[in-house]
Amino acid sequence: MSRFTMEEVGWVPRVPPVEAETATPAQLAALEACPPAQRRSTYFLTLANDAASLGERGALFNAVMYAPRGLPRADREFSTAVVSMANGCVYCTSVHARRFAELSKQPEAMRRVLEEGPAAETDPRRRAIADLSEKLTLTPGAVTAADLAPLRALGMEDLEVLDLLHSVAMFANANRLMQALGESEMPAG
């Protein structure tokens, strides 16, 4: 039984989150730069303790995950789920596995990857995305042009490759933040 799941996982912060009612103007402005659906989450309110870094980092996250065109959003979510598994972040994995399943309408494919690992992926495009995502996550210094060749062979153009690099890099960041600043709580049952 894998520890990864698509169920909702909780997250309990280790430093007190900012309270929306008593947040400073700078904290509120920083939260405005973050993805709208998440800016009142416990996680973003925890990051709001340091408004200066949240404003830039939240805007970066928004750009990486939601910028139009380029790599389809489902592929970005798939990549970040694979990265989160490689980094052992159960919370991030659950969130992005769920988003992939919603966007792609392929929850079974995601469930198999969660249970058996990315090597179980049979779709060639997703497999190529998974391979690059894992290698860039675990051994960035070993990545060369040859690692991009499978993506290129599937027709991936420059903007899509750049979007994939951004997604992988973003979750090197997100997984560390999430695991260090709080504890994930597995669903009951």
Binding site: R14, V15, P16, T46, L47, N49, D50, A52, S53, L54, G55, E56, R57, A59, L60, N62, A63, V64, A67, G70, N87, G88, C89, L136, T137, P140, G141, V143, T144, A145, D147, L148, R152, D158, L159, V161, L162, D163, L164, L165, H166, V168, A169, M170, A172, N173, A174, N175, R176, L177, Q179, A180, L181, E183
Partner: protein, 165 residues
């Protein structure tokens, strides 16, 4: 434009080159990565974490993550912080280190390499050093941001390798 962008400077991505043009197709990702770097390393109000503390944490994380070009940049930023801070930040031997900066560097090691091992006790120990909630979030953001830079740079180097082939 590359004069204002750390990553393009370190990778030698020249203004007007194909990779520079590609990065400008994602202007917000480019601008806010640079902005995060600025706010994490050189914030106007650094709280309890001096610019030298921040450069030391970034240097150690870049070294741990194996990017020598990025590490050299942070070593340059730390030069004003003194030789002792550089030696401490670069000592990856696991030898016992004492003092406040050593405690911060040990936290950086955990966040960079084994974030699942951070516990409430680890965070409380930072509070005991005088760090506020804001300082703790800032140091964690900083140490978690360097791995972003390392992976983006590694991926862009691979793209540079493609065009060289």
């Amino acid at each position: 434009m590359s004069g204002d962008d750390l990553i393009e400077g370190l990778l030698g991505i020249a203004p007007g080159s194909p990779l520079a043009a590609l990065r400008l197709r994602r202007p917000e990702a480019r601008t806010h990565a640079q902005g995060a770097y600025r706010e994490l390393l050189m914030p106007a109000d650094p709280g309890a974490l001096s610019h030298a503390d921040r450069a030391a944490l970034a240097l150690r994380t870049a070294l741990r993550e194996g990017d020598t070009a990025l590490a050299a940049h942070y070593r340059g930023l730390l030069a004003a912080g003194g030789e002792e801070a550089i030696m401490l930040a670069e000592d990856l031997s696991g030898a016992p280190m004492e003092g406040r900066l050593a405690a911060l560097l040990r936290y950086a090691d955990l966040v960079a390499a084994r974030p699942a091992e951070v516990t409430q006790g680890v965070i409380d120990a930072l509070s005991a050093l005088g760090l506020t909630a804001r300082d703790i979030v800032a140091v964690t953001q900083l140490v978690a941001f360097v791995p972003y830079q390392v992976r983006l740079m590694a991926g862009l180097r691979a793209m540079q390798g493609e065009s060289a082939a």
